[in-house]
């Protein structure tokens, strides 16, 4: 079975960049149109997703924590409550 993983922050970053370019193009014709608002709304949605992805990456940035999640029985990871 293929394990599905969350999209990497780098990939979302590219999408943010693209969406900003597209929004600027769309709005150059008619800045008050619904299409323009929808385009900037997409930018906001992707920027929020990128920021959440960055936060998640930060959460799991400790190399020892990451190692211990997969190898809790090793010497450096064992913890006993008493």
């Amino acid at each position: 079975a293929v394990r599905r993983v969350r999209a990497a922050p780098e990939r979302i970053s590219e999408k943010v960049e693209e969406s900003i370019k597209k929004a600027e193009e769309t709005c150059s014709d008619d800045p008050a149109s619904g299409e323009c608002a929808a385009a900037w709304d997409e930018v906001e949605e992707l920027s929020a997703a990128a920021s959440h992805a960055r936060d998640r990456k930060k959460e799991t940035s400790d190399p020892l924590e990451n190692y211990c999640q997969d190898n809790p029985e090793t010497k450096e990871c064992r913890t006993y409550d008493n």
Partner: protein, 407 residues
């Protein structure tokens, strides 16, 4: 309609003859999904059978609505709230990796973006934003939230924020507490009726701009202009559809620029107001020193060290959209989190279980954004208030069936 499952706990003995259970009899249990029906001991022949709803009492899910714009700290609030109930909130295991749902032992948080009726391409074609009610399926939202509240699991769609597509649905089981967070939890009157408590995070334009700069400036392609353009383009829909929801909220956390520093645009020092509706069942507002008075308090001095620009608290009754409210306000920030205990000791009605609980909760998450100002403080207090509300409602439900059984 009461739909009950009859469970016989005694398997070896037949049910006491005196325990007749007619399907027509109306017992008055509206909320229980399981009726445990058992006989205490075989020696007491003819004793009336006991109907307990002890395990089932409180089964009905408490529903909480949290409204805020994107990038306004909903996720930080959610993490503080789930922490009050203990345990970590995590995405559902083994499901869609882009699921927006967070599950902990007591709480399930669902993101209302999952009820988009139009995906990203659909919105672009029609020229509507996600803020527009036309992009959202309120019928499905109402049906599914109602079903969960009644204890029925649902297959909820997933809106994928990365691809902008609606993914196959995921199973949501009824939790003890369901939090629906997003742009429109109080928009539809039917959904609003289902909420046991509602919160609105009201971030002023100046602060929103400052926060989005912090969030996006490092992102490739973003510039001051693009951030400004994005806020401006969404503003008409925000003002028309999102902002009016705050009149229905039981608590509003308002975040404004500080008044302690003249012309501050950094958005680092904040003036945060906790607006609490009066007369809400099971919710008694927090107050400072004396309930109902108007008070201004500067705690800095011999007992609390504050550096520039200091801390200022205010409290008093006000009117908000025609409702009587109590407002607690904090302007400024803490230098040392442990000194928060001094402030906590002057606030009343915090619904904490022990002295210092607010400070302890804040210290536990000192790395979260807002931990040194009023946003973190008031979010933590609302978390305790929701726990209190939950406990009161569970307690009142346990009492109610007993009264019904006697009658």
């Amino acid at each position: 309609m009461a739909s009950c499952t009859v469970v016989y706990t005694t398997t070896t003995q037949s049910l006491n003859k005196n325990c007749s259970f007619s399907s027509k009899s109306h017992l008055g249990f509206h909320h229980q999904k399981h009726l445990v029906f058992y006989k205490r001991s075989s020696s007491k022949r003819g004793s009336p059978c006991v109907i307990t709803c002890g395990a089932a009492a409180g089964d009905q899910t408490l529903v909480i609505g949290l409204a805020a714009d994107s990038g306004c700290g909903k996720s930080t609030f959610m993490r503080r709230l789930t922490s009050v109930f203990g345990g970590r909130a995590e995405p559902p295991k083994g499901g869609n990796p882009d699921s927006n749902t967070l599950i902990s032992d007591t709480t399930t948080v669902i993101c209302l973006d999952d009820y988009h009726s139009l995906d990203r391409t659909g919105r672009k074609e029609k020229g509507v934003t996600a803020l527009d009610p036309r992009a959202n399926d309120f019928d499905l939202m109402y049906e599914q939230v109602k079903a969960i509240k009644d204890g029925i699991a649902v297959q909820k769609p997933i809106y994928n924020h990365v691809t902008g597509l609606l993914d196959p649905p995921e199973l949501i089981k009824p939790p003890k507490i369901l939090v629906i967070e997003g742009l429109h939890p109080m928009f539809d009157s039917r959904v609003r009726e289902l909420l046991d408590f509602s919160i609105y995070l009201d971030i002023s334009n100046e602060v929103k701009f400052a926060w989005k700069i912090q969030r996006d400036m490092a992102e490739r392609g973003h510039s001051l202009e693009s951030i400004k353009a994005s806020i401006e383009a969404r503003k008409p829909d925000f003002d028309a559809f999102i902002d009016p929801q705050k009149q229905y909220a039981d608590a509003v956390i308002e975040v404004l620029p500080t008044q302690l520093i003249a012309d501050d645009n950094e958005g680092k020092v904040l003036r945060v107001r906790l607006i609490q509706k009066e007369g809400v069942k099971h919710f008694s507002p927090v107050y400072l020193f004396d309930e109902g008075s108007t008070i201004s308090w500067v705690p800095c001095g011999r007992k609390l060290t504050c550096s520039y620009p200091g801390i200022k608290f205010s409290y008093g009754p006000e009117t908000y959209y025609g409702h009587e409210v109590s407002v607690v306000e904090m302007d400024g920030q803490f230098d040392r989190l442990d000194e928060l205990i001094y402030i906590e000791s002057h606030l009343s009605n915090l619904s904490s279980k022990f002295y210092g609980e607010v400070t302890q909760q804040m210290l536990k998450h000192s790395d979260f954004p807002g931990s040194n100002n009023g946003t973190g403080l008031f979010q933590t207090i609302i978390g305790l208030k929701i726990r209190d509300l939950y406990e009161q409602i569970v307690a009142s439900r346990v009492e109610a069936p007993v009264g019904a059984a006697k009658a």
